[in-house]
Amino acid sequence: MKDKDYYSKLGFKCGLEIHQRLETRTKLYCNCSTVPAAEEAITVIDRRQRAVAGELGLVDNSTKFESQKARKFIYHVYRKSTCLVDIDEEPPGNPNQDAIETAILISKSLNCFIPDEIEPMRKAVVDGSDPSSFQRTMLCGYDGELKTDGLKVQIPSIFLEEESSSIIHNTPSEVVYGTDRLGIPLIEVDTDPTIPTPQDAKKIAMRIGLLLRLTRSVQRGIGSIRQDVNISIRGGARVEIKGFQDIDSMDEIIENEVERQRKLIDIAAELRKRNAGVGEPVDLTRIFRHTEAKIISDHVWQGGSVIGAKLHGFNGLIGLEISPKTRLGSEISEYAKTAEVKGIIHSDENFDNYKISEKEMRELKEALGIGKDDAFILVAERKERCEKAISFALMRARMAIEGVPPETRAADSRNKTTRFLRPIPGGLRMYPETDSVPVETSKACKKLEGKTIEIEAIRKKLESEIRNRQFAEQMLWSREMPVYEEIINKVGVEPVVVASILLEKFKELGRSGVPVETISTDALEYIFSNYAKKKITRLGIEEILRSAPKERWEVDRIIKEKNLERMHKAEVRRLVLHFKDRPRGEIMREVMSKYRLVVDGDELQEAIKNQGS
């Protein structure tokens, strides 16, 4: 049983980074629209970036690794959602004040300290996701705390930063980015690495997400919130997992990552026992000049090279499975692939498929000096790619002797595993933002005095309004909460009606193919106000929603076209009179079968009850 004890014995350390896009009128450092581009790019530019030193004069490891790849970055530039600031052609403006206030509100709600002065920083990002090669970021709160369900976790830092570009297309030699998303304010909430189990990590992630939503200042919809998880176990190293598509599989992916780290630690122990090491790259092209192995000959015939290296003491370990469908060999291969090669060949593979001749194998082993316990790796490609790939592969192999490499990895929600992205970045990639001035926080703090997001208070308020515990709890966690609040505040309608429509009807209609997400809040508000004014019935509301209106006039049109105008009380009474002396149930059925959308059930019942009087 993998319970708290199990993880505590492993020295499990787990912390979260929650990233949430804010809902502001403009981007963080310019006046561009934060609405994603529904437009064609007006121009496309391409750029190259390289590693530069941070404030302390040193180049960060992840920065160096990425810039060695020398990829070309292509940016799609839009009219309304991109400007020269985004594409690194104009200095930034002042930071968006609303975003700063939201960041401070969140910091306060998580019991953080707020610096007297926020110092804008540049965080080096050389994967091209920012045309300026850095992300502007500000520490807005630190040393806070979150308590939930008997759990307590420290919140060491809260940042306000710029969202990165979205990837449109990605190959090893170039990446195409969209710049509409770039620069939208993004809040990052970090926890310290004391979350006891993968299940608790999921719980805390959900809780922070809820708190962020309850500021009513965050964007909704796919991709507007992202969770990164930092994990290590004793004897391992910190691994950052990015890109959880949905929070549901978070615990399972974490569990598999823990198992991966355990296996890597075991392998490292075995390698050290064998006194393992890593050899130098050797050019083996001449051995494969006439090879029939297509995977090699394809490259040799085009003037490419074959480069190999000995992995001393690695025999049998490269082929070991370390997480579902992944071996140590695949991890070595992932490193090599960043140098634009398709992969590597290693000695724990089944060679039957490759058609490498016995003679070639013998010569290869001789050239590399392979003994009984040794393994080897091979790469065939253009010479400079080969050299880069083999040096990356050897880098990874060397780390296998140490144990777990500190890496940024991507969550794979289909296989519930993780895959290598780049070495983990450190503090060396920080640099002061020289184009902007520091922000004193006293004014914003004064404005927000006494204000925090109190989840318990909001829960209680919902319970007293909706008077249905289940609906209230559902509403608290629902993305529809801001819509609910807006309607309740503007229209005098029973909260339980709004809650049940938003929570249940929306789901039901959505399942039957109605694009409920396109219904505007304004249209919804108008529908409920019609209901409150007794112009339509409750079933009428559902019927209107079926047409997914976006504007008020559309609501009017639907009411007219579908004849949804509510029947007046007197008319209902007249209708009931036609059925004089018939059993009540029958009258109810008869009337409802014909007029269900326009007759209010309660009124009908009342009319039936009173028909004799």
């Binding site: 080096a124 970021t137 020289t434």
Partner: protein, 448 residues
């Protein structure tokens, strides 16, 4: 800069900039590194760098406690090889890089919090290692100055350094320069350097080289390519051709102008086409063959670096006071370039006599000043005949400067007055000396 009382507090706690310290404020304990404070902002706010690399500002109060901490294990110092220790290939073209400062070699300046020039140009070259494969480079650290702070005295110094290098075996010259006035310097060098023996390529950048996205790297590599390999013997400016990092334009020193405050393709060829482009991969493509080529003789490059600082550049605009000419005349100026409207106009038939320039132009000319006329349209050629008003200005004695940009005409005027007698200078002003005036205007010089 921190406030005096804060400086004192640091001193008594023994904490220096860049050192680890503990700060206790309102019961809250923080540890990190003390960072310098730019001159801007509140001098009582301490900037602390936390271990995650982030800086935060904490206000210093009477209750704030400061303690020095033992230094954390210092990160391994990286040995950055200097450009002199870098192995340059001697079979490549010998190129002298003359360093003058500018954004191309800037990084954070704690005086203001903005960026300022490096004093060690080697640091810049470290970020462009591919240069070692392009040119056999040596370095002259001539000055470190922002281009807006430059004067003709710096132009003279740069011109001399360039001439000396060319005459001492360099096949080409790269001059790194701030962008704001790079086109003034390029014009000045175009006139000051006679009988050039090789390419003189000026280069700058619009993004400082401390950011990974800087245009400096591609600009510098392209300039090196041009200086090491081209047969062009002219002064030219090498900057991004578009917002993309894929090629640079090589633009004649007298036919180029900064046309945007911040974009990397700010420099545009005016009343001309670029002489050449250099691709990211290093291929030079010439757009015409009317550039001056390296002469086949041993003739030395000559320096003709005289410059008359008493020359002015004046802009005419609605309601402009022509008395400005009288002011310069009174201060003993030897000449002025007027940046007129349209074809070279100034108000000369206006009913408002106090705004009428004609009398002042005539008086300046009569006093011995050279008055040149150019256009604030920047693109195109001035004309002294089409309108009556133009003829009046011409008759008053102004020299119409063809398709020279106002800035170039100004530099030329100062240079002519510094090297020639007045009559000769006046005669040469509207004549082409080094490609600054085109005899014809081609149809695709103005577009997009």
């Amino acid at each position: 800069m921190y406030s005096e009382r804060l400086e004192k507090a640091f001193e008594s706690a023994g904490i220096g900039l860049g050192e680890r310290f503990r700060l206790t404020s309102e019961g809250k304990v923080m540890e990190g590194m003390l960072m310098p404070r730019p001159d801007s902002g509140n001098p009582d706010i301490i900037i602390i760098k936390f271990d995650n690399g982030y800086n935060a500002g904490i206000k210093f109060t009477r209750e704030t406690k400061l303690e020095k901490l033992e230094a954390a294990k210092a990160a391994a110092k990286q040995n950055s090889p200097s450009v002199h220790s870098r192995k340059f290939n001697h079979s490549l073209g010998k190129v002298e890089l003359i360093y003058t400062g500018g954004t191309i070699s800037s990084k954070i300046d704690y005086k203001t919090g903005g960026v300022y020039m490096l004093t060690k140009p080697e640091e810049l070259l470290e970020t462009v290692p591919e240069i070692a494969g392009i040119a056999n480079l040596s370095l002259t650290n001539l000055m470190s100055i922002a281009s807006e702070d430059m004067s003709y005295l710096e132009w003279q110094k740069i011109a001399k350094a360039a001439a000396d290098s060319l005459n001492n075996g360099a096949r080409g010259i790269i001059i790194t320069h701030g962008t704001d006035t790079m086109h003034y310097t390029s014009a000045a060098l175009s006139f000051m350097l006679k009988d050039l023996r090789g390419p003189v390529v000026m280069v700058g950048s619009q993004r400082s080289s401390d950011r990974g996205s800087s245009d400096a790297f591609v600009n510098l590599a392209s300039a090196a390519r041009m200086a090491a390999e081209s047969d062009m013997a002219e002064v030219a400016v090498c900057m991004h051709a578009t917002s993309s990092d894929n090629h640079c334009n090589i633009m004649r020193g007298t036919k180029v102008r900064k046309m945007h405050t911040s974009r990397r393709d700010a420099f545009r060829a005016i009343n001309s086409k670029p002489i050449a482009s250099v691709s990211y991969e290093g291929k030079i493509i010439y757009h015409a063959d009317d550039y001056r080529k390296i002469p086949g003789t041993d003739e030395k490059t000559k320096l003709m670096a005289g410059f008359e600082p008493k020359a002015a550049l004046i802009k005419v605009h609605p309601n402009s006071d022509p008395g400005i000419l009288e002011y310069y005349q009174g201060k003993g100026y030897k000449g002025a370039i007027i940046e007129g409207t349209g074809l070279g106009h100034a108000p000369v038939s206006t009913p408002h006599s106090d705004l009428n320039w004609i009398r002042y132009i005539k008086s300046a000319v009569d006093s011995g000043m050279i008055i040149g006329m150019t256009s604030q349209c920047i693109n195109g050629r001035v004309n002294d005949k089409v309108y009556r008003n133009l003829r009046m200005i011409k008759d008053a004695g102004a020299v119409f400067c063809e398709d020279m940009m106002p800035e170039v005409a100004y530099v030329k005027l100062g240079w002519l007055l510094g090297n020639y007698k007045k009559a000769e200078a006046e005669k040469l002003l509207p004549e082409n000396l080094t490609g600054e005036i085109s005899a014809r205007s081609e149809a695709d010089w103005f577009g997009d």
